[in-house]
Symmetry: C2
Subunit: 214 residues, 2 copies
């Protein structure tokens, strides 16, 4: 289709984050939209130094699209969404709604889930963010009780990123939220998600094998 897209991720990561490394958001988006892409890597081991010119926080993913390099998974996904009506409606109101829900996932939900999870990993299982987290998750449950998709009654990039934020097991296990759980299950059952996740797992498994051979 004439694209020249490369999704950049780590050459290897430990078991823990596999299936959740955020290159998955871009693989998933590209698969949904039928955009062809390559995957290339930066070293995990010295990530603080190796690619700071392209991602100033030493993280992945970033995306190259011809001459353009762009980081932040949310920004990369919005960049891809501009290429395909499958990810974002091309009418003005559908575009505004997709934008609002992508930013809500990043700045109203993930802003609480990730720091909560970070504190929990540090040993603080119930922590000072738990009340805020539960309140935000209750809002999400109320929203998802009334609709199947966030924008225009059909899948968009907004659902992709919201589901990816919500599907973290520790978040998913938090409280009985049937509409949210059904939403996550609906999203991760999509062919494009399953391919993106399988490809990511295979990518890191191959890296294990090449380490053994070394």
């Amino acid at each position: 289709m004439g694209e020249n897209l490369t999704i950049w991720t780590y050459d290897w990561v430990p078991e823990g984050p596999r299936g959740f490394v955020r290159d998955l958001r871009l693989r998933w988006g590209a698969e949904e939209a039928g955009l062809s892409y390559d995957v290339d890597t930066v070293p995990f081991e010295d990530r603080p130094r190796s690619h700071l010119d392209r991602q100033p926080f030493g993280q992945v993913p970033f995306l190259t699209d011809g001459e353009i390099t762009i980081f932040e998974s949310g920004a990369c996904l919005l960049h891809l969404a501009r290429k395909s009506d499958i990810l974002m409606p091309s009418n003005a109101s559908g575009e505004a709604e997709t934008l609002q829900w992508v930013v809500a996932a990043l700045n109203s939900i993930e802003m609480v889930t990730v720091p909560w999870w970070f504190l929990r990993l540090s040993g603080d299982r119930e922590n000072g963010l738990s009340g805020w987290l539960d309140s935000r998750l209750a809002h999400v449950e109320a929203i998802l009780s009334e609709r199947e998709w966030l924008v225009e009654d059909r899948f968009t990039a907004a659902d992709l990123i919201m589901a990816d934020v919500l599907r973290v097991p520790e978040i998913r296990a938090r409280g009985d939220r049937p509409a949210t759980e059904a939403y996550i299950q609906r999203l991760v059952a999509r062919t494009a998600f399953k391919k993106a996740q399988a490809d990511q797992l295979a990518h890191f498994a191959a890296a294990d094998e090449s380490r053994v051979r070394r």
Copy 2:
């Protein structure tokens, strides 16, 4: 200029957040771009219920643009940015860079600053997020030591939102970061910021007076 923009904020807020309520990001953006706009309000007192149809987390701001309603300050700002080259270059690479830095401000910096500040307000002055915060602020300092603006050597919406995230007094007081401090000072010295902030302060001061008269 034919716009029909309305920025929605609260009718009143306590002293504490004045000058920082996020409608300022939209006022600032509209002032920079020379877009005309009205300001309208929703009640602060019963915010959990009063406008959930338009902002499902009970927050402000949201923006109406003719038939379109959009919430999340970052999304509203990107929506405004599409209307003016002053906020976002209209070439593909300038647009991608603006998008990446707006999302970085929201999802890599504010994702740490706001939860850190929330824990601090709850009484936990040094908390489990302090190390992560300092590391992110050090990255920002390194970036701002090498450039005056985030995108294309000139002001964009990316600087607007990054400066707004960084100018919180408790964050600003954290460590000696001269490039970041100079950046913030450069941004808040802009005519459009000063007008936006003065207008917000006047809006809430007028609400105080009307409360006294009641």
